[in-house]
Symmetry: C2
Subunit: 247 residues, 2 copies
DNA sequence: CGGTCTTTTGAGTACAATCAAGGGTTGTGG
DNA sequence: CCACAACCCTTGATTGTACTCAAAAGACCG
């Protein structure tokens, strides 16, 4: 983790973009100099505790923004209460839709989370004037679309075991930089995993137990996983072990 | 159907955009005059018969484009052959990804289909220079993303009956303009429906039979459906009957 | 008319959901 | 420091939905 702590800078209204941990991966990555200044002039930081609701389905949001630290989830619901997580937002991911204030998703902090928020109107104006920025956002949106479609394959065709292995492989992939053995602290409860995977809590728990007993993964407590053999995990996920597109 | 037939115009290399049936809904909708001219200068039409493959997973595509008439599908596969449809492209929908030639999806003509193709390089150059065009494409991509996420809810949480009802409601919604009773010719075989819904052919067939026996829908042959009471179909789809977001 | 492809229907099975209970961890207040 | 509550996770027994395997009926075409 970085020493950048925008939550501590709230009284200053902003922190220095140069020190920002997502500076070169977020929507702002394509901007420099005056453009970056312009973004900075409309930004503010805000933090939520794990479990807190950031927005409800149908809320009109006055901001769009980027995840700076932590993890947030997007969830869609049916009237009878069934829920499906439709997005998992990690640092640098973009939140909100330019041109449409009302969010069709419930947004919840999965862990403690800090967002870098841009006022909607000025941001939308800038999008129309700065091709750099809009093409960066287009690229990120297309990446999200590909990821959502990849996840449709997981939801529609994989078994419970494969689903769980896919999610763990995904998290290991994004969390662990170059560690051997690979390890990660899960940012999700069993309930959140079930919500993402289209399963029940009990089934998620059983499949994690099974992967552990198989020797495919190891656990330290309930929330830290280790994997000595990523190709074995990918095979359990229904992918070939060559490392391509683990979900 | 319109009298616009670009397939017949192939020898002329292009048809008149003013007569195009998707002129005001496709990616070109935001362009007029010189901009439209520029798009027209890089376009060509091409048609495929139902069942033909337009592109394989991993193919490098020299074009992007719009569906003019007919219906195409995007499909992702696992190594063992399991397949999941991840996109259903109807007239005006955009195909291909600017900035990335290699497609991660198999693209197949579900019915006879005609595409309006733009050469990739000139189109990408124009995207960077014409904010109109790039913001239109961004808007369409975000719509696709929302649709993909809506579909994740269907795949992850709905029962077989609800899935089938959701798809039929969707198709009726897009196909039937203002007809009472609502009717539509299904552009998909049972196999393609199963692929989209994360089900087997047999289950799709059984659920259609059940909806028919319930009186929720009527059939004329296997490929034409009629619905006298859309709210009953939406209820079967697990939505409330008020007409919002039928999938 | 024969052939192929699509769709329907039936019988049996398997996998994940449901219902139910108990263990583990964390944090709070007595 | 311990007791208790709340939450999270695991495990077990049973049920039900959708899958698999199998066959036949209907549509379409040469």
């Amino acid at each position: 983790m970085s020493h950048f702590d925008p939550a501590l800078s709230l009284s200053l209204a902003r922190a220095d973009c140069a020190a920002c941990p997502i500076r070169h991966r977020a929507v702002c990555a394509s901007c420099e100099g005056a453009e970056l200044e312009r973004l900075a002039s409309m930004k503010s930081y805000r933090s939520w505790k794990a479990g807190e609701t950031i927005a409800l389905e149908g809320d009109a949001l006055a901001h769009v923004g980027s995840v700076v630290t932590g993890c947030a989830t997007l969830t869609r619901s049916l009237e009878d209460g069934r829920m499906q997580m439709v997005g998992l937002l990690l640092p640098s991911d973009f939140l909100g839709r330019p041109g449409r204030a009302v969010t069709p998703y419930e947004v919840v902090a999965a862990t403690d989370v800090t967002l870098c928020l841009f006022e909607r109107k000025p941001f939308e104006r800038m999008l129309g004037e700065v091709p750099n920025l809009s093409s960066r956002l287009l690229e990120m949106s297309l990446d999200e679309l590909d990821a959502a479609r990849d996840w449709m394959l997981v939801l529609g065709r994989k078994t419970a075991r494969e689903k769980v292995a896919s999610l763990l492989a995904n998290i290991l992939h994004r969390a662990a930089a170059a560690d051997r053995p690979l390890w990660a602290e899960l940012p999700l409860t069993r309930e959140a995993m079930a919500s993402y995977l289209g399963l029940t809590i009990e089934t998620v728990s059983r499949q994690i137990t099974r992967l552990r007993k198989d020797g495919t993964i190891r656990l330290e407590g309930a929330r830290v996983i280790l994997c000595d053999d990523l190709s074995a995990l990918l095979e359990a996920a229904g992918e070939d072990g060559d490392g391509t597109s683990p979900g």
